[in-house]
């Protein structure tokens, strides 16, 4: 399926966003977010505030991972959650980052394993196709 790049602010730069949903594993408290398709992200990450919104508030239930990014080193809090992409729910290990004050990053260990991704930067479009086996 082909998508247009999305501009969020007047005069801003169009980027490859998808509208996605997140909820706890087995939960029903869903929130819609925008996620940017990011081949530079090792796995899918959300701001930690998203974890709180869906009710993941017990820090003892997260595993902690050292994470690095353009802004330096930080601690990621990892827990399974469910992400809805194009109407299908996937259960992935999501890294919630207190330092990420931005939209979700759809990364390689999960999103890119489920979808084949292509970019047409000149046309400002991208294309995602589910792989034959999506488990």
């Amino acid at each position: 399926m082909e998508f247009d790049y999305t501009t969020l602010v007047q005069g801003g730069r169009p980027r490859p966003y998808l509208e996605i949903k997140i909820r706890q594993a087995g939960g029903t408290n869903e929130f819609d977010f925008y996620g940017i398709v990011d081949s530079g992200a090792d796995s899918t990450a959300f701001p930690f505030g998203a974890a709180i919104l869906i009710g993941l508030t017990d820090l003892s239930k997260f595993s902690q991972e050292d994470c690095g990014g353009a802004t330096g080193e930080t601690t990621g809090y990892v827990q399974e959650a469910e992400i809805c992409v194009l109407g299908t729910w996937y259960r992935w290990k999501i890294t919630f980052l207190p330092e990420l004050n931005d939209n979700a990053l759809l990364g390689r260990a999960d999103f890119f394993r489920v979808f084949r991704v292509g970019f047409d930067e000149l046309a400002q479009k991208f294309d995602i196709t589910p792989h034959a086996s999506n488990d």
């Binding site: 082909e2 501009t7 602010v9 730069r13 966003y17 509208e19 925008y34 109407g87």
Partner: protein
């Protein structure tokens, strides 16, 4: 062939610059809360009775390049 409409295609919000750098809570096509942090934007929406707004971070226009 008509263009395929996909449920994952986000709206190009094109919000005014006053929202740059903010989290916005959106219900329908209206901004129902805005704040520098996700929890405060949600709280603002919640005060208006919106329990499940769409949460979107609006990039700062000054952030021309993203890495």
């Amino acid at each position: 062939m008509p263009k395929q409409v996909c449920p994952g295609q986000p709206a190009s919000l094109n919000l005014p610059e006053k929202y740059a750098g903010q989290w916005v809570a959106i219900s329908g096509d209206k901004v129902v809360g805005a704040a520098p942090t996700i929890d405060k934007a949600f709280a603002a929406a919640s005060e208006k009775g919106e329990k499940h707004p769409k949460m979107v971070h609006i990039p700062d226009r000054a952030e021309h390049l993203f890495f």
